[in-house]
């Protein structure tokens, strides 16, 4: 089974560069603005898009992404509306891979089977669910694979060589390496340490390895992209959304363009990286 994710990484390999993966929160600050941001991302240089599914209790996220989720929920965002947003995006873009990222409870409450069917129909390609380790694979990972969706696992600095095979066993699409022990947006990744970690993971898998948590600037993005198949930026983008809202937290005429500008700059960083590691 080849998904949009597989196709995109194959294409980038041909071009000899790493992927720039962007994270945005669905419905932040409202559904329409968020869809406009989403549509602007590929043009600004995003190769893969992660869309955050807002949740009240995001235990692995720092203050920025917590606040973005709460803004979205306050604006009336739901999981159903997140899927509708992907459907709208797909009317214009059938190539950019979309990965939904979040926590299990909203999916569990939606119903695993109906969620997977609706997500697939909407044009979702993969899932990253922070609170589903391999020990809980029967919950969603196995059903997602059967439904034709990639289940992208997080590997972390605490995932040692003994544990890596279990983490990688049912992973597809790519592996998301969490570059720090910590929450999103908290610390800066050390590109040298990350390079060693990516090399370690690559000894266990042929899948592309993307690195996230702790990448905020074009310079870090470039340094990371030189040693991985992709660099993920989330908090920095979400921070720009927040910085371009009015005093009541509503979108302004600058919100979408400010995000696009940052994404362009970061994409330049990633594209400036030398050949991705193999």
């Amino acid at each position: 089974m080849t998904t949009r994710i597989d196709a995109r990484f194959a294409e980038l390999k041909q071009q000899g560069r790493s992927a720039f993966v962007t994270f945005v929160m669905a419905g932040d600050p409202d559904a329409k603005t968020s869809l406009d941001i989403l549509k602007a991302l590929p043009k600004a240089g995003a190769d893969v898009i992660e869309i955050g599914m807002p949740f009240t209790d995001p235990m692995a996220d720092g203050p920025s992404i917590q606040a973005a989720g709460l803004r979205a929920l306050k604006g009336g965002m739901t999981l159903r509306k997140t899927l509708a947003m992907v459907r709208d995006f797909r009317k214009e873009d059938n190539a950019t891979p979309i990965v939904l990222m979040g926590y299990y409870n909203p999916i569990y409450i939606y119903g695993v089977d109906s969620f997977l069917a609706d997500a697939k129909a909407a044009g979702v390609d993969g899932l990253i669910i922070v609170d589903l380790p391999p020990e809980e694979d029967t919950e969603l990972c196995i059903p997602a694979m059967k439904a034709g969706l990639n289940f992208i696992r997080l590997a972390t600095p605490t995932t040692d060589d003994k544990r890596l095979p279990a983490v990688l066993a049912n992973t597809s699409g790519f592996v998301y390496y969490v570059s720090i022990t910590g929450i999103t947006g908290a610390a800066t990744a050390d590109s040298k340490v990350v390079a060693e970690a990516v090399a370690r993971i690559k000894r266990h898998t042929k899948l592309p390895v993307c690195v996230g948590f702790g990448i905020r600037t074009p310079e870090t993005a470039r340094a990371i992209a030189e040693n991985a198949n992709g660099a993920v930026v989330g908090t920095a983008i979400v921070d720009v959304v927040r910085a371009n809202l009015d005093a009541e937290g509503r979108a302004t005429p600058k919100t979408v363009s400010a995000v696009a500008d940052l994404v362009s700059a970061l994409a330049q960083g990633v594209r400036g990286a030398k050949q991705a590691a193999e």
Partner: protein, 405 residues
């Protein structure tokens, strides 16, 4: 009755941490290796007689166990029914049952070589117990506490600080226990290499619900023995309040396979079950939060709702997974008491027995006041007096003063 009843109610969880469909290990990958280490360290400790022997010394000489099983004569007369015994967990060092669990976890943390302890707290009882044992064993202690709870439980905040702990007021969400647990988990993910998370209740990822239950089960084991000594037989019913449910699980667990013993858990009904409350079994449904599947208060989209209770210790939108299972199997009956009922019970016990209960425990006293009169005089009823009310005196005093005006 449920046709799929297990042979024993005391054999859970399975090796993956499940009680029926409840429990599990729903945590970020960063924490998973540590949780597996903890599971192993706890299993080793449990099998090591030296561990239990050392625990017993501290339980006796530092905590002050066994806690008395006290015949509440005036409360019994007043209610005019069942013969009421109070299990006096409020007499433990630090003033609640929480210390039983914290002692156990700190001993496990020491075996694992962890020097930094973090905890979440609602009413502050678990925070105080953790701060106390960290002081005793010279460990760094950081306690996460919702900013709302920091306000309403000032005496405990001061105690924790005097004991050398750092209290971090949590500003996210409703700024109560749930949010404190989120921030404790965030700290743990960040400092996983040197930090032990001392969870205060029978919730969280496996092995916590089992481990905390085991450490708290001393309450029920003592009660069995003490009731045999006092009355020559086992009690007829047990009752305890439930937030996450650790004091209740500690009392109940050793009695779960005595089918004739009625067991009641009391959730916090806040302003009433149709309004803001914290009764996740009465008003919630199964979902996944804080590492386990259990009953949770949430909306149609699976977003967690804010709980409300006058008692900071019960102000949590979930419940331990083993309680969720005992609820579904019907072995334990879960009731609820409102803020008003708890306030009345708080005053009743203070006046009749000279014991000021914690607002948490007052919820159990409230339902006891309904159940005891319906039972005969030879019915033996045990209520877990899980904590003392000193910490609540300013808050209750303010409420009562405002009403006099």
């Amino acid at each position: 009755m449920n046709p799929n009843l297990p042979n024993s109610f005391r054999s859970g969880p399975d090796e993956r941490g499940h009680f029926g469909i409840f429990g599990g290990r729903f945590v970020a990958e960063t924490l998973m290796p540590l949780i597996l280490d903890l599971e192993k360290a706890y299993a080793d400790a449990k099998a090591d007689p030296a561990f239990q022997a050392e625990m017993n010394v501290y339980l006796k000489d530092y905590v002050g166990r066994p806690s008395p099983l006290y015949f509440a004569e005036r409360l019994t007369e007043h209610l005019g029914g069942a013969k009421i015994y109070l299990k006096r967990e409020e007499l433990n060092h630090t003033g609640s049952h929480k210390v039983n669990n914290v002692l156990g976890q700190i001993m496990v943390a020491r075996r694992m070589g962890k020097k930094r302890i973090i905890a979440e707290t609602g009413a502050g009882q678990h925070g105080v117990a953790t701060a106390t044992l960290c002081a005793r064993f010279g460990l760094e202690c950081v306690v996460y506490m919702g900013a709302v709870d920091v306000e309403r439980q000032q005496p405990n905040v001061i105690r924790m600080e005097m004991l050398g702990a750092k209290v971090v007021p949590v500003q996210s969400g409703a700024r109560t226990l749930k949010d404190a647990m989120n921030d404790a988990l965030r700290d743990w993910v960040t400092n996983v290499h040197n930090t032990f998370y001392c969870i205060g209740t029978v919730a969280g990822p496996h092995p916590y619900p089992m481990m905390v239950r085991d450490f708290q089960s001393i309450i029920g084991h003592e009660t069995r023995k003490q009731m045999q000594e006092a009355e020559g037989r086992l009690p007829d019913s047990l009752i305890a309040c439930i937030g996450g449910g650790s004091n209740a699980m500690g009392l109940f667990h050793p009695f779960l396979d005595d089918p004739l013993i009625e067991i009641f858990g009391v959730e916090a009904a806040g302003h009433g079950l149709t309004q803001l409350h914290a009764a996740s079994l009465a008003g919630g449904r199964p979902g996944v939060l804080h590492g386990n599947r259990t009953y949770l208060l949430m909306d149609a989209d699976g977003q967690i709702e804010e709980a409300h209770s006058i008692s900071a210790g019960l102000d949590y939108p979930g419940i331990g997974p083993e309680h969720a299972w005992l609820h579904e199997t019907g072995r334990v009956k879960y009731l609820s008491a409102t803020d008003e009922e708890a306030l009345a019970a708080f005053q009743l016990l203070s006046r009749l027995e000279g014991i000021i209960p914690a607002l948490e425990s007052a919820h159990a006293i409230a339902k006891l006041s309904e159940l005891a009169p319906q039972r005969p005089r030879d019915h033996l009823m045990v209520v877990n007096l899980s904590g003392r009310g000193d910490k609540d005196v300013p808050q209750v005093g303010d409420i009562l003063k405002a009403r006099k005006k």
